[in-house]
Every structure is written in C-alpha cells, then in structure tokens.
C-alpha cells in the first residue's frame, strides 16, 4: 500500500497560486454514524468499526456509488479519547471477538486495509497509510482525485471514546517526562490545543480588551446550531444550550478555560465521497465542488506559541487559502472554522476576515447576531461544541448549506461558497467548497 509520504499532495507553501484542479473535484456524498458518548467495549453494533462501515455505506448510498466503483480510501487511525493518553493509547491486549473483531482494528482503530478486508472493496488502488487527520485528509483526497490517482475516493474519519476520565492514563500518569514533554510537563502543561491556545487567548484579551466570559455568546450559538443538526450528539441526546449563568459558573479547567469551552469526546465515524466533477454530475445527489485545499504545519519558535505567532500563522493560512481558491474574504458565504476549544476560533475568524472582522473584533462580533437566520451566520455547523468532537460537522454543514439541504440550519444569506476546517493555529488544513465549479 502506498504511504501518505509517497504522494506529494500538500499545498502547504505560500504563493502557490490558484489550485490547478479548482472546481474539477467534487464531494458527492457523506454519511454519519450515530454519535455516542462512549463505546461500552461490548456491543459490536456500536463499535467504531461498525459505525465506520455504516458511515461509508451512507456516503456511497447518497452518491449512488457501489463498492466496486470505489478506487480510493483515505482513512486515518482513529483518535481515541477516554482513559488513556490519546493516540498513544494502548488498549490491547483485551479479550477479542470473532472476526472481523478479532484484533483492536474494528473496535477502536480503523484503517483502510481493515475496511477493504471487511467491506469487500475490490478495486481500491489508492489507500495510503500514515494518513493525517481529517483536516488534511480532505485535501489529500482532493489532490488524489484531481491528479487522477483515483477517481472515486472515500475519506473516512473515525473518532473514538471509551470509559474513563479524559486522557488521564498513559503518559499523563507517568512520573517522568520524555521527549518533547521534558520542556512542558514538569511545569504542568500536559500538551494539547488547550495549552497551545490558552496563553495566546489571555494575551488577546490583554491586547484588545474584553473578558473571557464574552465567549459565552459564541458557545451558546454553537449549542443552538448543534440542536439544529439532526445527526449530532447534542440533538440526538437533547443537550439544550447552556445559559449564560451555566457558562460562567461552570467548572474551570485551565482557568480561564472552562469545561464548556471544551468539546465533548464522542464515539462516532463519518465518511465523505470525493470524485471528479465530471462523474459527480451524473451521481445521485447534488455535488459540491472543491475550489481549493491548503495545509500548514508551522513550527513553534520556542516553548509556547504567543499571540504574535498565532496571528501570523492564521494570516498565512488565510492568504494561502484565498490565493489558491481565487477568492477573497467577501466571497465566502459559509464559514465553519474549528472550535475544539472555544478560545481558538477567534484567531481564525479574524485571520480570514470573514464578514470584515479584523483583529481584536471577534468578541464584539460574537455579541451581535451570529444566528443561522441572521446576517452573519457564523459557524452554522455548531462545530464540535454543538455536536460532539466528531471534527466533521464543519464539513457536513458546508455541504448541506451549499446544497440548500441544511434544514432548520439553512442560512438566509447567500450560500454559494463555504470554507471549513479541522485545524489548530499551528497545524491542519482548510477546504474551500463551492456550489458551482467556477
């Protein structure tokens, strides 16, 4: 099988110009599994493998594609939350089940080979290993289809969660700090996007004014949009939007970061079917077109990124994306940035200058009308905060808004372009979608 490194697909440099395949690649279908809080380690119908098969079948069904037509699979190993240390989790050995659940694959880990073996794909010629997260996977698939490496490609993103307090095991239970952790852990930084962003966020408040609590407007709006997303965790579990008082009184984590600033880890899977625009026009559902993909992986210059670095990084992300798409801030109708922690989203909003929001203006923007029915339907997906940590709501909402199938979430403003991402300020990727190929 090819590896992700065998295929030079990233658009991760400044000044690359308009993407050579702009409008020639499309998304023709998507599918979601149910979104559970955790897998109970017993019920095989709700394992990550079963949920991933379900998501793939839905995506193919929506596009009207058969298994034999799929010739590409881009799937990363799942990202496990739960009691152990994230992607370093060691759940095995455990009692296993009959095939295909006779190893960790299919239970908490998914990869392309397991899907090929267990779903009966016969014609897959592109199934790279070592695939990054969905923020980059959608770009990888877009480039592969555009380059002709494959023509009908499933992008699959499983995200798992099991019993136990969030990441309280593994290396976080160690008395010693090894590798890169020797520079952070002795002082209490367990590593992750919470720490990456909380210091720049504090500096942001000092530089531009405002209070941390001003984020409540954004968080509440995410919850409201989540309740309008039928497949998401909040809607399927009737998690009503929190009140201002709930937010202000909620448990501090990394003060000022509160529990409601953090997304809820879930057990779920999603799949997207990428194909050529030419093929998509004859498929079952309305395609949306890929106008550009871009990636970034900025290196920290020292221990902790500061506000200056984060603003510079997000400025560069925006410049790359807009240049590659041949669009500018005023052209973007739907904007679904990442919100795994509420404290990072303002950096993207201001970097991309969506609806004219400049540096230092996000909090006042949040306090205005950002509802899906208003003039500034910011993050109409509800993101992770409104749907659970699937990291896929941003993509699905963007597709639905462009198709006009977002139901109660459908915006009332123009919806012809959509910008969506799973990314942090330092690493990840963006995807620009269009209702039309040009």
């Amino acid at each position: 099988m090819t590896s992700s490194n065998d295929f030079q697909w990233r658009r991760d440099q400044d000044g690359l110009g308009v993407w050579e395949h702009r409008g020639q690649v499309a998304i023709a279908g998507y599918g979601h599994s149910p979104v559970d809080r955790r897998w109970d380690e017993k019920n095989l119908d709700t394992s990550l493998g079963a949920y991933t098969i379900m998501a793939c079948e839905k995506a193919m069904e929506q596009a009207g594609v058969t298994i034999d037509q799929v010739d590409g699979i881009v799937c990363c190993d799942s990202h496990i939350a739960g009691g152990s240390g994230g992607t370093a989790s060691q759940w095995a050995p455990r009692p296993y089940f009959d095939p295909p659940y006779d190893s960790e694959y299919g239970l908490t880990l998914i990869n392309a080979q397991w899907l090929i073996d267990n779903m009966g794909f016969k014609n897959v010629k592109f199934a790279p290993t070592g695939v990054p997260t969905i923020g980059e996977m959608v770009g990888m698939a877009s480039q592969a289809v555009g380059d002709g490496v494959c023509s009908t490609c499933l992008v699959i993103y499983p995200t798992g969660n099991m019993e136990g307090r969030y990441r309280r095991g593994g290396e976080n239970a160690d008395d010693y700090a090894r590798g890169a952790r020797q520079w952070t852990v002795p002082w209490g930084n367990h590593g992750g996007n919470d720490f990456i962003n909380i210091f720049p966020h504090r500096q942001y408040l000092m530089k531009y004014g405002g209070e941390h609590e001003d984020l409540v407007h954004f968080v509440r709006n995410q919850h409201k949009n989540g309740m309008l997303t039928p497949w998401g965790y909040n809607a399927t579990h009737n998690i009503q939007p929190i009140s201002v008082e709930d937010y202000i009184g909620s448990r501090p984590i990394l003060n000022p970061l509160r529990i409601w600033d953090c997304d809820r880890p879930v057990n779920a899977s999603a799949a997207y079917l990428f194909t050529t625009s030419e093929r998509a026009r004859d498929m079952k559902s309305q395609p949306v077109y890929v106008l550009n993909h871009s990636q970034h992986n900025f290196r920290f210059r020292t221990t902790q990124p500061d506000l200056d670095e984060v603003e510079m990084w997000t400025d560069r992300q925006a410049a790359r994306m807009y240049e590659g798409a041949g669009l500018g801030p005023a052209d973007v109708d739907i904007f679904n940035p990442y919100d795994g922690y509420s404290i990072m989203t303002q950096f993207f909003l201001e970097g991309f200058q969506w609806h004219g929001v400049k540096r230092g203006e996000a909090l006042s923007f949040y306090a205005g009308d950002i509802s899906v029915k208003g003039p500034h339907p910011f993050s109409s997906s509800g993101g992770n905060l409104g749907n659970g940590r699937t990291r896929t709501a941003m993509y699905t909402d963007s597709i639905e808004q462009l198709r006009g199938t977002a139901g109660d979430r459908q915006v009332t403003v123009r919806a012809e372009t959509a910008l969506c991402a799973f990314t942090t300020p330092s690493s990840g990727g963006w995807l620009m979608l269009g209702k039309y190929p040009s």
């Binding site: 020797q182 209490g188 000092m206 501090p252 984590i253 990394l254 020292t302 500061d306």
Partner: protein, 136 residues
C-alpha cells in the same frame, strides 16, 4: 508534591547537566545571532547545526501571561491544583519563553508584567529544573 521529572536525551543532556549545576544554558546560532529554546538539532532560521553553541543568558525575564491549572491531566501534579502556570519571556530575547509555576506566588495572585529571575528547584534527587521567581 514533587513535579514530573524530565528525562534528558542526547540533545538535551548538556542542558540538564547545566541545570543540575544551577546554570541555564540555551542554544545560540552564531551565524544567525539567534537564541533558541528548547534545544533543537538545527537552527530554526538557517537550518544548520554548524553554528549552534550553548550560551548562558542572563537569568532575567518578565511574566507575559498566566493561567491557573484547576483540572489538569497529569496525575503527579493533581495534589498541587490549583496552581499557576506562567509564561515568562526572556529579557535578552522576548521571543524565547519558558513556563514557570512561580514558586511562592499563590494561585491567581500572579503579577502579570512583573520582573522575574532564574531559580532552580529539585524534582528528584540530583535532578533540578529551571524556575522563575518574582523579583521583589
């Protein structure tokens, strides 16, 4: 409660050896005239290892920002919660920063913007870490 103990590797061994002698040394690229911390295999500007040397900066800094860890994930530090985690910039080059728990400063009583100076703290027999304390 004791802090988590750093494990030196080949690259960081000279750094931790110096810390255990109560000295802070950080890399300097003599070609680029740029300090860098944590240590890296090459200069982050020129990409070369040829001009990297260890330099002992003046142990002076300022508190740029802080948070209070109320519900962290590190087992060994949980009894300390809540505790401060400050971001300290090095006066000699403010683009270089360090973490500090600001020993002696109660949680939430961090004087942001205050000057700090280098100190050291033992986290295991024979193993120190670098810390920063507020200059009175």
């Amino acid at each position: 409660m004791p802090k988590i103990i750093p494990v030196p590797d080949e690259l960081s061994q000279p750094f931790w050896d110096a810390v255990n002698e109560r000295r802070l040394v950080i890399q300097n690229c003599t070609a680029c005239d740029k300090l860098q911390y944590p240590p890296q295999a090459v200069c982050q500007i020129c990409g070369s290892s040829d001009w990297l040397e260890w330099q002992e900066p003046e142990g002076k800094g300022h508190i740029a920002a802080y948070i209070v860890i109320e519900d962290g994930r590190l087992n060994r530090r949980m009894p300390d919660q809540p505790y401060n985690l400050a971001l300290v910039t090095l006066d000699q080059d403010p683009t270089v920063n360090f973490y500090s728990n600001l020993p002696g400063v109660p949680a939430y009583e961090v004087p942001v913007g205050a000057a700090v100076e280098l100190t050291f703290e033992e986290v295991a027999p024979g193993q120190l870490i670098h810390e920063w304390r507020v200059v009175e």
